[in-house]
């Protein structure tokens, strides 16, 4: 077995081709499940592996599958390939380099819950990725791996690719389902959860691309093999998307909990340090814009769900963005707030109005027109939003605000014009006020 479990195409050229994939154990797990395992056994194996969702929430995948009612048909599997979190680009690499492993994982999920259809919801910008994936699906159809009576069994399953239209919120699973149904991408009130009331109101499993790519090796090699990797509570391999002010940004596959932020940023086989010898880490965004930023003191936190949470943030999709000492934190927080304001779907009051208000306050702050009470106001607005929104996006939007205020409050104060003195000019090139939303 090679160094990679998910990014195997890095070792095996042309792995996106079916023949190559088949030569390297491809669809063995699919064959094994179909011919020698019951659907429940597949669920049990995934449950036992301890695999947790790689889309952000880290929910145990096998447990999610087991919530699906047995006797309600039709059922669906939806692959969440919306990958819109800033700094996240792992699903793309899987779909481009190793698409069959995703397809095989999705098929296994479908078999496990006895779904008749798999939909892959890809973000609209990934047009070329979608083509690659569609080609792979066509190959698999042609080889009888998808379709009616797969591999001669009495199980039939179809697979379709659907392109989104460029909304971040459509990565949230219920908004994704609405969008897939052809409606405006508004998250649904939960409960009911997709497992019981999903696509077209039918039982549905929604899983992230990376999550599903983990499934074939689990089925092929067994849960106990899988558990030899990672930690007790966060088993298995994970792709870390490293970006920001590092020398070598990119995807890195490593076992969960076996490396720290420091290893990832500075390690020879990983990021190889910052963009400049003299630079230092100022802050880390562990999960794109969505999770609270951590100060440099968190550098030695191991990269698994529990440890990052204990450090005060979330591992989420593990899209680690590194901010060095040249980065203006207020500006960075402003950019993230602007992102969320732009992406807020508008369905619920606190997020729709709160992100707009936050953005207006940041705008005046970075324009040098801040007021002494603005940091307090920002904190208060964010707290008024937190915990009250319909979906997690509203909470995400508060994390850059609250975490930057928590760790870097001084930088805010520097932005507030001092009475009797000339206003402090904002750093050049950082001010950009956009009218309207």
């Amino acid at each position: 077995m090679g160094r990679y479990i998910l990014l195997r195409h890095r070792e095996i050229p042309e792995l996106h081709r079916l023949d190559v994939y088949l030569r390297h154990g491809g669809y063995e797990a699919w064959r094994k499940a179909l011919t020698s395992m019951t659907p429940d056994q597949v669920i049990e194996e995934v449950k036992a592996s301890g695999l947790r969702g790689r889309g952000g929430a880290g929910f145990p995948t096998g447990v999610k599958w087991s919530f699906v009612p047995k006797n309600v048909f039709p059922k669906y599997v939806v692959v969440n390939a919306d990958e819109s979190e800033p700094g996240t680009f792992k699903d793309r690499e899987i779909m481009e380099g190793n698409p069959h492993q995703l397809i095989e994982g999705a098929l296994l999920a479908a078999y496990a819950i006895q779904a008749e259809r798999v939909y892959v919801y890809i973000r609209g910008e990934y047009r070329s990725v979608a083509r690659r994936l569609e080609a792979a699906i066509a190959e698999a159809y042609a080889a009888g791996l998808i379709g009616r009576n797969v591999l001669g069994t009495n199980y039939s399953v179809e697979m379709f690719v659907h392109l989104g239209a460029g909304a971040y919120i459509c990565g949230e699973e219920t908004a994704l389902l609405e969008s897939l149904e052809g409606k405006i991408g508004h998250p649904r009130v939960r409960p009911p959860f997709p497992a019981t009331f999903g696509l077209y109101g039918q039982p549905t499993v929604v899983n992230n691309v990376e999550t599903l790519a983990n499934v074939p090796p689990i089925i092929l090699n067994g849960a106990s093999w899988y558990r030899t990797m990672g930690t007790e509570k966060s088993p298995g391999p994970k792709i870390f998307c490293l970006s920001g002010r590092v020398r070598r940004p990119g995807n890195y596959e490593a076992e969960l909990g076996k490396i720290t932020f420091r290893d990832l940023i500075f390690g020879e086989e990983y990021g190889q340090g910052l963009l400049g010898e003299e630079r230092t880490v100022k802050a880390i965004l562990p999960a794109g814009a969505s999770a609270p930023m951590l100060p440099a003191s968190a550098l030695d936190t191991p990269l698994d769900y529990e440890s990052v949470q204990a450090a005060g943030s979330m591992l989420g999709s593990a899209s680690i963005i590194v901010l060095d000492d040249t980065v203006d934190i207020v500006w960075a927080a402003y950019k993230m707030v602007r992102f969320f304001q732009h992406e807020s779907c508008g369905k619920c009051t606190p997020c729709r109005e709160g992100t707009y208000w936050l953005r207006r306050v940041y705008e005046r702050l970075v324009a040098g027109r801040g007021r002494p009470k603005d940091p307090e106001l920002l904190e208060s607005i964010a707290r008024q939003m937190a915990g009250k929104t319909l979906c997690p996006l509203g909470d995400f939007a508060t994390s850059p605000v609250l975490s930057s205020l928590k760790h870097f409050r001084k930088e805010y104060e520097a932005y507030i014009p001092q009475p009797l003195e000339a206003p402090v000019a904002a750093p050049a090139g950082t001010v950009e006020t956009v009218p309207g939303r």
Binding site: I184, V189, G346, C348, T349, S380, Q384, K388
Partner: protein, 862 residues
Amino acid sequence: MTGTVRVIINDRPIEVPAGTLVVDAAKRLGVDIPVFCYHPKLEPAGMCRMCLVEIGMIKMDPQTRQPMRDEEGRPVIQWMPRLQTACTTRVAEGMVVRTNTLQVQEAQRAILEFLLTSHPLDCPICDKGGECPLQNLTMRYGPGESRFDYADKMHQEKRVPLGDLILLDRERCILCGRCIRFQEEIADDPVLGFSDRGRGMEIITFSDPPFASYFSGNTTDICPVGALTTTDFRFRARPWEMTPIPSICPHCPVGCNITLDVRPSARKGGWDILRVMPRQHEAVNEIWICDKGRFVHHFATAEDRLRQPLIRRNGELTPVSWEDVLEVVAEALSRAGPQAAGLVGDRLPNEDLYLFRRLFGEALGSSWISMDPPIFGGEWVARYGVGTGTDFGQMRPGSLIVVMAGDLEEEAPVWFLRVRGAVRRGARLIVAGGKPQKAERYADLILRYRFGTEALVLVGALQVLLDENRVAPEVLPRLDGLEALRKALEGYPLDFIGQRTGVPVEQIRAFARAIAEAGEVVLIFGREGVVDGEAFVGMAANVLALTGHVGRPNNGLLPLWPHANTQGALDFIGARPLPEEVPVLYVVGADPVGDGRPMPRAGFLIVQDLFLTETARMADVVLPAQSWAERDGTFTSAERRVQRFYKAIPAVGEARGDWEIFIAIALRLGQRWRYLSPEAVMDEIARTDPRYAGMDYGALAWTQPQWPPVGTSRDLYFGGTARPNTAGLGRVRPSEAETPEARWPLAWKAPEIPSEESILAIPTRRLYQEGTLIARTPHLRGRTVPWAARMHPETARRLGLEAGQMAVVRVNGQTLRLPALVDPSVPSQVILLPASLTARAGVVEALPVKFRVEVGNGALPR
């Protein structure tokens, strides 16, 4: 979900049905949880986040299954980590809710502060100001001031027309989605939606014409802010300036409870009706009305209302005093005596109809009175009309609703809403008709028969019921005429019926079986295409009586009568043929000439109306009558619910109530009538007419609390600006079949079936059919359906007619001239005509007359 669960809200226990939403459970305890997006009639959306409360569960000991207790013996409560929305959370056994803690108050303040950041705060010029939930909730729960910079406000369009009737103010919209959900869930015209996202999200309409719905006005009631206003009312008055007067909609047989908001108006030089709002009656219209009911009120205060009596002098109608004119009228009537004839419209209130009958019967000794239009089926409705207590709101699985020979949405819009609601709750629907209609969307079974064969379809159903022995055994002893019916049916084999009606025999069987098997059946019937009305309604009555679906709530016949008091007109006047020629004819509230219906030739013609109708133009004397808004009275709806309406505005000009005029004439004819008001008339009816026994104005004004509670200004569990009902729920006059000892007769009349070759002229009712009253509401001008003869292109081709050309149609001895309209959705072999024609057909004589169709007897029911 069945049974009840116990929950504790603000330390008070309550037992509610499982599945109840927390917000509703709280309301039952009198605890208001503030809401914006939630509406008790709509599915919860959980969008506005105004209703956040603390929710926990009593912790149970897994061993003992008893609540766990702390040291002080109080149950331990596992609180959820976040606040929960009370409008989406359903109660569960052992749930504990707190709606008044600091945490909850902080959340309420937060949501209001957020909402107001984007709100224009133009209350001083906002139509909703004074009855606005956003104002009310802000006063009660909001922050005293906002920390949002006023200059940062985002400005948006303030006048976006969503069609001819409704305007949207984008700045005021709080994006609660109530309007969208109303259109989807209640009206089933899903023509509104959200577009764009975040702060840029907005309400749009995507139908053509925009906001195409008969129910659009209701969205302005339930909109919790002044974002949706009607083009009719916008900027015309502040809510507190108006006096709300309870009334009943005068337009259709539903009898929607409404409120007329009136105010003195300089423009009208007197009082004006500013708007019509729904008034809650959960068994009639819930809290909805249709747009006709809301907007077609301008006729009451129209410029061209008759304001003075007129008399013909030198060929011209000239104003005259009441004294003089009454002398002339009394003179003429007394001279004619028993030869005098009367024709009375079915929009008149009961009191007036009753006095009209007395005037002819007692003062003149004449029995020559009839209602206009002539209606069939009244005696079967009296016998087998829906049972007392019938309520679409109570229909569920096991209930069956049949709609036959009428378009439910066009003829009784609010019944359409309520039937749809019943189907959503599990009732079944069967629609039988000669052409498609909207209600068919929810039908389990659609019978598309050839127009004119309605009665035959029912004969088929009877055939199946008898064949398969599906007569309800418990009703057998009450039925009269079963054997005769059985015998008569022998001449109608099912195959023949299937072939003549065009309905597959299997469908007729399924139809009959569904009726026999349903627990409750309401058969709603109209007159569309009905050639032999007597046979049609008689067969419908047979079907229901045989299967035991009469004499009980939620069972029986429900007629799609044409007007608001057709039932009253049947009760007090009835339809009978008048002689061809009479010395004096007294026409009240009817326009047979304009409607193209036959009218006796008269030596002397008296017409009493609101307007100078076509009939009035021919009159010797014209008497100006009052509209329903100017006086008290009662209407009897098609469900036979007798309901009161109240005087809302003073008389227009010198107009008098029809009842007053009848009294004045009767006194001149030597009668000693002493009624001082319609109330006194109704008192007498309630004493003397057993059908209306006990229905004095006091009894009709009785009310009781209704669920959901709506409409009070202090209520924060908000249903909209629909008004609570404080003026009376009315009383239903029971059907004869309800009397325990009543016999249930069956009917037989061999149905008259038009030959297959004949082309039928079918009067069809459209809600916005061009007419005298609707013409006075300019807002609906774009939507009114012009009079035309509609036909399939194939029919037009066969008749050598092109669209737009004049068609001359002779039906039942009348000659009608109408523009031809070609419409592929019309079945072939028929010409659809407006059910009430106006006399404007005269204008067209300059246009080419292309063809002449002679249509057989009885296509228009007489």
